[in-house]
């Protein structure tokens, strides 16, 4: 008799409340707050380096305590309620944003079975058959915090920022959800620990690279981070949804934002990078995937993702809003759908006809390559035509005298510039009419 899902997941419910569950919850909380503090510090230091600055280095060794100090400072600031604010919702919003951010970590597997206070227990708070969907659901509740913050502030910038960010998160949640589908199809489960278990041999970043790329793009959009940080576009919206927030309420938003960043990174690690499994050369050592060691590999992968986030912020300029939405709906979504079709086809062929990987790849790749070749040919013909049209236009260009009207003017489209008899250098100089005193006196 196979173990059913119920039997498997009931193992999590065997944990005694005291001390195991309590310890896990407390541990997760501390871990998250610490990661956030360090991430904020690291972000400022790394971006500083990237921008030829030093970054905070005064408070504590290497400036490590800077974020803590900032938090303390925020707590002591003056509490401000905008006159137009809807007070109840205004207070509710940061709470709604933060609690889901913490809750999502309940299902992230940090390691395999470990011994804790004399009990053997998985290094994961809980798990159930649809735990990845649980993360998505929790994230979608988190969006309420942001929308409501924008609305309840009674300010236009905040409202626009809130709407923008929720529109962005909803749009990218779709692409994100689609990238999960391929993982579910391969793992045969939507539970995080099962997905990690299914990656024992090959990580899904190798098997499902397009899904991984889509997920990584979507996760940056989902967390409102640069280059997709449009909701907080300072030049347009001051500060976005939290424009009107101050003190601890602002700090709490900040906290939620960074926890979300860490959460999506953890999810990426779990779904595509084998979760807590040791990377290749280390995995040859038998003890690498046992005991507390996996926590190290997990946190290492997590830090890698966080660094990428920071790197992106230091490197890329912000997108324009319409471009960003177009990218999400018109590129990421269709690509994900096609990719799911391919993955589904491959899985079905393997299940029903025992195709091996090579066969599948050939059957899928040949038509795709054929389509690409045809598209390339069509495109090159079109390009040649366009070139011919440009050449024709070039020929049709009329002669143009920049000084015809007495003032030098630049050529219009369709006209080509030919140097006049005057030397090239003087054309530019005479472009600036300089009035002499005498002229003014005449007037």
């Amino acid at each position: 008799m196979n173990t059913t899902t119920d039997d498997y997941f009931n193992a999590f419910t065997m944990d005694p409340w005291w001390p195991i569950v309590f310890a896990k919850v407390l541990g997760l909380f501390i871990l998250l707050v610490l990661i956030v503090l360090i991430t904020i510090w690291a972000e400022r230091r790394v971006v500083g380096r990237m921008q030829m600055r030093i970054g905070p280095n005064r408070v504590g060794p290497l400036g490590l305590l800077q974020s803590l100090m900032d938090g303390v400072k925020l707590a002591f600031k003056e509490e401000i309620f905008p006159t137009a604010a809807d007070k109840f919702v205004y207070i509710l919003a940061p709470i709604l944003a933060t609690i889901p951010a913490f809750l999502a970590w309940a299902v992230i597997p940090l390691g395999p079975m470990v011994w804790m206070f004399g009990y053997q227990t998985p290094l994961q708070l809980t798990d159930f058959p649809v735990s990845v969907l649980y993360i998505v659901a929790i994230a979608s509740i988190g969006i309420y915090g942001i929308v409501l913050a924008g609305w309840s502030s009674g300010s236009t910038y905040a409202l626009l920022g809130g709407l923008r960010s929720s529109a962005q998160m909803i749009s990218y949640e779709v692409a994100m959800g689609l990238s999960f589908v391929a993982v579910f199809l391969y793992a045969g489960s939507a539970s995080t620990s099962q997905i990690v278990a299914a990656q024992e041999k090959t990580w899904y970043i190798i098997l499902l690279l397009p899904s991984f790329l889509i997920y990584v793009t979507a996760m940056v959009g989902e967390t409102n981070r640069a280059p997709f940080d449009l909701p907080e576009a300072e030049g347009e919206l001051v500060g976005g949804f939290h424009t009107e927030y101050s003190t601890l309420k602002f700090a709490v938003f900040f906290l939620a934002e960074y926890i979300n960043l860490v959460t999506v990174s953890a999810l990426a690690t779990t779904l595509f990078l084998g979760g807590w499994r040791a990377p290749y050369p280390i995995s040859l050592w038998a003890g690498a995937n046992e005991g507390w060691w996996p926590l190290v590999w997990f946190l290492g992968k997590l830090c890698g993702f966080i660094f990428v986030f920071i790197w992106l912020r230091g490197t890329l300029p912000r997108l324009r809003y319409d471009q960003f939405m177009k990218f999400g709906w018109k590129f990421l979504m269709p690509v994900s759908l096609v990719w799911i079709l391919i993955v589904g086809f491959a899985r079905a062929m393997r299940n029903d006809y025992n195709w091996d990987l090579r066969q599948t790849v050939i059957v899928i790749a040949v038509p795709i390559i054929a389509i690409l070749i045809v598209m390339y040919i069509i495109e090159s013909i079109r390009e040649r035509r366009a070139d011919a049209a440009v050449a024709e236009e070039e020929e049709a260009r009329t002669e143009f005298d920049p000084m015809a009207g007495g003032f030098p003017v630049p050529p219009m489209p369709g006209q080509s510039y030919t140097p006049t008899r005057r030397s090239k250098a003087t054309v530019g100089v005479t472009a600036l009419p300089v009035s002499t005193d005498a002229e003014i006196e005449e007037a």
């Binding site: 899902t5 119920d6 659901a137 969006i143």
Partner: protein
């Protein structure tokens, strides 16, 4: 969370009952709040609360997937779109609550109450047969798998036909909202041409006159020939007639200034 998992995954009756009483009451409070609150956004929030609590109840019944989908789709997407519309349109309590048909609210309330009483009277006496997820889940080894077997097995046709519904909805949204361009989109060049052809001032208007002693938006700038540039003063001031008049003397002053003679006396430019 382990507590929640316990409730969700085992059939411990007390756990399920506790969940029921908590989530059920909250769902009911949410529903009442939705009807009773004055602000549309508050109503939307209350109903979101009801939906989340219903999702918890589904999960307590062992329908994990349904519960998650309820949150993701209804709370996360549908209600969110509602909120969008409410916030953008700005529906609030200032809207008229006058009844168009007299006594409608009373009648609706009574009818609702009667309906509720009927439902309570019937459902409270009901003994349910073999309904629920346990039996169905067991066959394929779990709720998710059982659901998949139903959707892609017994109800395959209904599932496929649902896609017709979605396509219809998409076409409908497009018909009602999408505007195909009749003419090609105006490029920067076309816009600029249009601006010049319109005959209005093509660029930004000249700024008001700002001189060493006079720095006010109601002072018109001077054109090179010494005449006043009326449109350099904001239109609202022009309409109010609050333009400072600049007489000819100013033109001379300007010439003096331009000539580099800084010895202007304190003469008021009015």
């Amino acid at each position: 969370m382990t507590g929640l998992a316990t409730v969700m995954l085992s059939v411990i009756d007390t756990g399920e009952q506790i969940t029921f009483w908590i989530c059920g009451s909250l769902a009911l409070i949410g529903a009442l709040g939705m009807v009773l609150s004055r602000k549309a956004v508050h109503s939307a929030l209350w109903i979101a609360m009801t939906m989340i609590n219903l999702a918890c109840l589904y999960m307590a019944q062992g329908a994990l997937f349904l519960g998650m989908v309820q949150i993701i789709v209804y709370t996360g997407a549908v209600m969110m779109l509602f909120l969008f519309v409410l916030m953008l349109v700005g529906v609030d309590s200032s809207d008229s609550v006058v009844e168009t048909i007299r006594g409608q609210r009373l009648a609706a309330g009574l009818a609702g109450l009667a309906f509720a009483l009927m439902l309570i009277a019937v459902i409270s006496r009901v003994t349910l047969g073999d309904v629920g997820t346990q039996g169905a889940d067991a066959v394929y080894g779990g709720n998710l798998q059982g659901l998949a077997a139903l959707i892609f097995g017994k109800y395959l046709l209904a599932f496929e036909v649902t896609s017709a519904l979605l396509i219809t909805a998409a076409i409908g949204a497009m018909i009602l909202a999408h505007r195909e361009r009749i003419e090609p989109k105006k490029e920067q060049k076309d816009l600029s041409k249009e601006r010049f052809l319109s005959g209005e001032h093509p660029g930004s208007l000249p700024p008001p006159g700002v001189y060493a002693r006079h720095n006010a938006v109601d002072t018109p700038a001077l054109l090179p020939d010494g005449t006043l540039a009326e449109n350099s003063v904001p239109a609202s001031l022009r309409a109010r007639g609050a333009i400072r008049t600049v007489d000819r003397a100013l033109g001379d002053e300007v010439q003096q200034l331009a000539a580099g003679d800084g010895s202007l006396e304190g003469e008021d430019l009015r």
